[in-house]
Symmetry: C2
Subunit: 524 residues, 2 copies
């Protein structure tokens, strides 16, 4: 990882000169205060901010640009696997939420409730009026409202499978919001499908996990993920089985990056999603649901950012290449800008990952060094600095965000477009490899009893307690009480890997004989 | 316009054979019952339906596919004119709505109000609890919450112009909902910009109207539109000036298809959007806002659909070409499907309007004639029917949605890809030309007094009152009372055209001397 910026950074006004520590663009560093570092990366990258509405964020253009790239890439995968987009109401009648018992319990606590549909003005103030006969819930997820639609749409086995996806905003009231990771309102996609057989529905659930979510995390987000099943305690309210992808953050905690649920006939029973089979008999459909959210942006930050700010995998960078023309020498501005434009045009003609390479020329009226650091903090994969001297020597000064700022180098004008394309591929791969190495280093298999587990997950260094622990591969006996006991250490089973060894051992919590392989970790 | 389907339609089971009228795929026809025809087109095209939540619709895949095309095309134009997307909270604190006096009045009446943030279970029922200190409004539009963000983001003239767009869902409680046209929840984009001078903000407002909305309506939706300014009575709450595009529907009513508002300093005063100018003095910014919504889909239906269902301009068709392989002759299925696939591949290699032509092969297990009528009703621009005989004669049977079903014709295999591309352009143009002709035929300039206006806007034929009237170009004296008097005829001034003649005349309502040219019409 880059060790820190070069000398020019010290000229920036907002860094106290008296500070003797090695300079970084983000204060504090990950080691100093991981949670605060996360907030500062988001601020420095100008991605998002908390709004005046408690728990709700404003996603600023650079952050939303990342979401647009995520949305486009994910949408292509969802459509390529045969799903169509649709849109369902924001509001859910209260009574719908009462219909599926497990679902009620899981979601009842944290909903925004609409009770009135009108305001009247009274002495300059607005007073709610027009009380609704039945309160409406702002969707925390749409199984219930979509279930009601599916019941109308599905008559015969010929209407199945029904493969629907929705891009939407959802609301889950958060008492301790954290930007991108846990906000009252967030953006997501939710897939909802109905099938005529259990087998087909189960296959759909796993296909989405592997061919859409895992593939997307690894190939677009450069996020190595574990895949497996959740235990009953961590299951989606109303599901028969919940599968997930889990990634390790730089503080060694786990973050659930996507879930896929096999719902069996629970929702089709509650919402009467029935079809007549080939024999003309009525059957309940088998349904699934699956989702990923704007929380993925939080994962990208926590996995790839460093002490100089964000580092974006090129696949999801709103701009892959930023050109900074040095317009500070009188008389050369026009020529430099023309040269920069010609370089940009050359690069835009190139394709990488089947898309034209995206280039921004940053010609704002600002000091070039300030621009450069802004783009480092925003995580632009490649920076090209072009000044009068580069122009004269027919070259371009190129910096890569996966390398130290000092490693920037001069590249010949003729080579630059080709260099950019190969660098994009290398950066994408390097970010993945670094994240994978971090996970591998912090995944442990030798922890087999409760005391060791407790020691492992207890912060050793009181001064910087945020980064500790990791993933522990250890046995689980299957008794939910053991999960409760782990929870006292703030540790949960993140997943039961699909790839089970089948070996006998002892439950890491209670010591009883146990066969199940589980991944234990602290998590977001 | 197509006169009606061919013989094969009469074999369909759902059409009573005893009915002697010329058959149409949609019952009733436009002439018989225009409002009901509109609902039936939407149903037959499987675009959307009203949901269990009063006033809220479910947008089904074919309808949402149209919205996706609209969104993509519009987004490209918005970005090409220098705007960036961002996302702001769904909820607006009640107090924000109270800050801009005109805005309060305009929006206070029809809002969804969130008053609680929790539900508790009590004997299987859910009870709202956790009352909020300050109620939250579900955004009816985002001027207030975005204004508050702009105030934080803007410090200096260097931060201007700030050019932001948001794609979002909004809620305005509707007592008389009408699918796509007036629903409690709808989808839209809302642009919000801030500028350092009045001149620049006014230019932005008009640039959006002309270069984005008018261009999009005409080139994508094949919708001829009038452009101009709204009168004070029709202005956006809090705006200094509201501009709009207006289109004529097939019942001769007007539909407002997009608005662009110059907000002056009204919102910057209320939300303290200030900047220090080049001289270091604090000034209030000049702001604009502008939006189009999923209502555009309603306009497309009401302008282009006919008595056989929807007709989609190819620019916004989710699939431009639908291939119906005739898989009803045993032993030929595999060959026919292979031939159809080869034709599809040839067409997919073609580009039209800078995009690859989109092709769907409909190989569902259904009678080909039923499929054919389904795609006619859904408005697919081009249908290709491919059976064993077409394969033998090395040809394809091609039907265009802008022509009668009977006009379908055989095209040689070698010509088909080229034919498709030229047909797409012709269909796009034909739909525009037909809509323009309808508007021209029903635009009147000879109505100069109240009695004539009254007669013109009074249904002549009691049996089919829905289609009557039109656009009346007539003078307006400028007195709002005359607008009130027109409103008694359910007629409003749709806009004051930019292209004012400057001639003297008499106000069509009161007869006073009047200079202003106005377009009067009934409207949605």
């Amino acid at each position: 990882m880059p060790s820190g910026p070069g000398l020019d950074y010290r000229r920036r006004k907002d860094v106290p000169v008296s500070d003797k520590k090695p300079k970084t663009a983000i204060t504090p560093t990950r080691q100093e205060d991981y949670p605060e570092w996360y907030q500062q990366v988001i601020k420095a990258a100008d991605m998002a901010e908390m709004s005046s509405v408690r728990g709700c964020m404003v996603i600023k253009p650079w952050g939303y640009g990342i979401w647009e790239k995520i949305q486009r890439g994910m949408d292509d995968l969802i459509k390529a696997t045969g799903h169509e987009n649709a849109y369902f109401p924001l509001f859910i009648p209260l009574s719908f939420m009462e219909l599926e018992a497990g679902h009620v319990e899981g979601f009842a606590k944290e909903c925004a409730v609409v009770t009135h549909h009108r305001l009247v003005e009274k002495e300059g103030r607005l007073i709610p009026t027009g009380e609704l006969e039945e309160p409406l819930i702002v969707r925390p997820t749409s199984e219930t409202i979509i279930g009601r639609s599916f019941a109308r749409w599905i008559q015969s086995y010929r209407d199945l499978p029904l493969l629907i996806n929705q891009w939407a905003n959802v609301v889950r009231w958060e008492m301790r919001p954290r930007i991108f990771l846990r906000t009252t309102e967030f953006l997501w996609q939710e897939g909802h499908t109905a099938h005529s057989t259990e087998k087909e529905a189960r296959e759909e659930t796993l296909m989405i996990l592997h061919d859409v979510y895992c593939k997307f995390a690894e190939e677009f987000l450069a996020l190595p993920v574990l895949v497996g099943e959740k235990t009953e305690a961590e299951r989606f309210p109303g599901a028969v089985a919940t599968y997930c992808i889990e990634a390790m953050m730089q503080d060694h905690k786990a973050l659930q990056a996507g879930t896929s649920h096999y719902l069996g006939q629970n929702f089709s029973r509650a919402f009467e999603i029935q079809f007549s089979n080939a024999e003309g008999e009525l059957e309940l459909a088998y349904t699934t649901s699956w989702g990923v959210s704007s929380r993925l942006i939080g994962a990208v930050i926590m996995v790839h950012a460093d002490d100089d700010g964000l580092r974006l995998p090129p696949m999801i960078a709103p701009k892959q290449v930023v050109i900074i023309p040095m317009l500070n020498k009188a008389g050369t501005e026009e020529q430099v800008l023309a040269y920069a434009n010609a370089v940009a045009e050359d690069i835009r003609k190139m394709t990488w990952a089947d898309q034209p390479v995206s280039v921004l020329i940053d010609d704002r009226d600002m000091r070039p060094v300030d621009k450069k650091w802004q783009w480092i903090k925003r995580g632009a994969p490649i920076r090209l600095e072009i000044g009068p001297r580069d122009m004269e020597s027919n070259s371009v000064f190129m910096g890569r965000r996966d390398r130290s700022v000092k490693a920037a180098e001069s590249v010949g004008r003729d080579q630059i477009a080709g260099m950019v394309v190969s660098a994009l591929g290398e950066i994408q791969q390097n970010l993945y490899d670094q994240a994978k190495a971090l996970r591998d280093e912090n995944t442990h298999t030798g922890i087999t009893d409760f005391e060791s587990l407790k020691t492992f997950f207890t912060p050793q260094n009181i001064e910087k307690p945020e980064i500790h622990g990791g993933f522990v591969n250890a046995k689980y006996c299957g008794n939910p009480e053991c999960e409760d006991n782990a929870a006292r250490l703030k540790v949960t089973i993140r997943l039961l890997p699909f790839d089970q060894s089948g070996t006998e051992g002892k439950c890491v919590i209670c010591g009883s004989p146990a066969k199940i392989d589980a991944v234990w970790a602290k998590s977001y």
